[in-house]
Symmetry: C2
Subunit: 195 residues, 2 copies
C-alpha cells in the first residue's frame, strides 16, 4: 500500500517564478524585473492550494532587496494588521538568487527527490500533459518544483535541464499568450484541484 | 440532434469584471477602482480560450475614460506595433457603465438567452460546481455571462439576481483568497479547457 505512505500531492509541490534565465520576444536570454502583483497572485495560489513554497528567483541583488521590502510590508507592522490573510499568503514566499538554491531548499523541506518541471507556451518534444504528470506524482513518492518564466518564458537551457516539460496551456484557439499569473493558476488547479 | 446545432461553448461565454457593486472587507458595498493588470490578464484569458467578450464594468465615468486610454495605447499606434499579440487580446474588451449594458451587448452578439452566472469566494445556498454548469451549458443552447467582482467580491444583490452562482474555488485548504485574476483563469479553464 505504497500510496498510503505518500504525502498528499500539494505537500510535494512548489512553484518557482524565474526572472532569469528567461527570453524576450526575440528569443534573447534576459533578466526580467520583478512585478509586484506576481508576488501577491502566486503566493495566494500557493496558500489556497496548500503547496509547500512559492520561490521568487532573481540573480539581481537589488531586486531581491526590493522583494524583501515588499514582503516585509505585508508580513510585519501595518500591512500584517491591515490584511492578515495577505500576510498568510506572502509568508509562503522564499526569495532565492538561483534555481539551484530554490530546489535545494525545497528538497530539504520535503525530504524527497525533486523533479524539475518546466513550463512553456510553445510546443516542446516529449512534453507531458498536466493530467499525465498528476497521475505520475500521485503514484510516486516524488516532489515537483513547477518552473515558470517571466517575460516570454523560460530560456532553452532551463527546458533542456528539466526532468519534465509541461505541454503549453492551450485554450480553444491558436492564441496562447496568457500572463504567467494565469498560467500558474491554471497549472496548479489542473494538478491539484477538483472542479 | 440538438447538440449538433449548438455553438461551441466558448462562443457562448463572456467574462464581466464588476467594479460596482462589490463589497469591501467589512461587507460594505463600494465601488473599486480599475487595476491595469486586470485588463491585460482577463483579456488574454478571453482571447486564449476563445470567449466572446471581456466586459469591464464601472459606473465611474473617469474610470471608463482611463480604461479607454489604456486600451487605446495598445490598440493603436506604438503599442499595437510593439506588441500585436497584446492588441489582439485587448480588442476583446468592451467597457460598460453597468451590468445590464454588458448583458444586453452580449445577448445581441450571440443571439441567445444569457444566463448571469455569479462567482463568490464564500459558501452560497444552491451554488453549482463548474462541472455541473459546464454540463448544463454543453446540453442547452444558452449563453452565460460569468460575473466576477473586484475588491472582496460581488455585492449580495448581484448574487441574488444571478441565474446561477458558482461554488467558491477551493484549493486543498480552508484558505481561499485568490486574486480575481486567478479566479477568472481557473473558472474559464474548468468550464472550457481540456487538461
Amino acid at each position: 500500500m505504497q500510496s498510503r505512505a505518500l504525502l498528499p500531492l500539494p505537500r510535494r509541490l512548489a512553484v518557482a517564478l524565474l526572472h532569469h534565465p528567461v527570453v524576450d520576444a526575440d528569443g534573447t536570454v534576459v533578466t526580467a524585473s520583478l512585478t509586484n502583483l506576481d508576488l501577491h497572485d502566486l503566493s495566494r495560489i500557493t496558500r489556497t492550494y496548500g503547496l509547500v513554497r512559492c520561490y521568487l528567483v532573481s540573480p539581481l541583488e537589488p531586486q531581491l532587496v526590493l522583494a524583501r521590502t515588499l514582503l516585509d510590508h505585508w508580513l510585519t507592522g501595518f500591512g500584517r494588521t491591515r490584511n492578515p490573510d495577505r500576510a498568510e499568503a506572502l509568508a509562503t514566499v522564499t526569495i532565492c538568487p538561483d534555481l539551484r538554491t530554490a530546489a535545494d531548499d525545497f528538497r530539504a523541506r520535503c525530504g524527497l527527490e525533486v523533479l524539475l518541471v518546466a513550463t512553456t507556451a510553445k510546443a516542446h518534444p516529449g512534453a507531458v500533459s498536466c493530467r499525465t504528470l498528476r497521475r505520475e506524482l500521485e503514484a510516486e513518492a516524488q516532489a515537483a518544483l513547477l518552473l515558470f518564466g517571466t517575460w516570454d518564458g523560460l530560456a532553452p537551457q532551463v527546458l533542456a535541464a528539466a526532468d519534465r516539460v509541461l505541454e503549453p496551456i492551450t485554450g480553444n484557439t491558436p492564441y496562447n499568450h496568457l500572463s504567467v499569473r494565469s498560467a500558474v493558476a491554471i497549472v496548479v488547479d489542473r494538478l491539484t484541484g477538483s472542479a
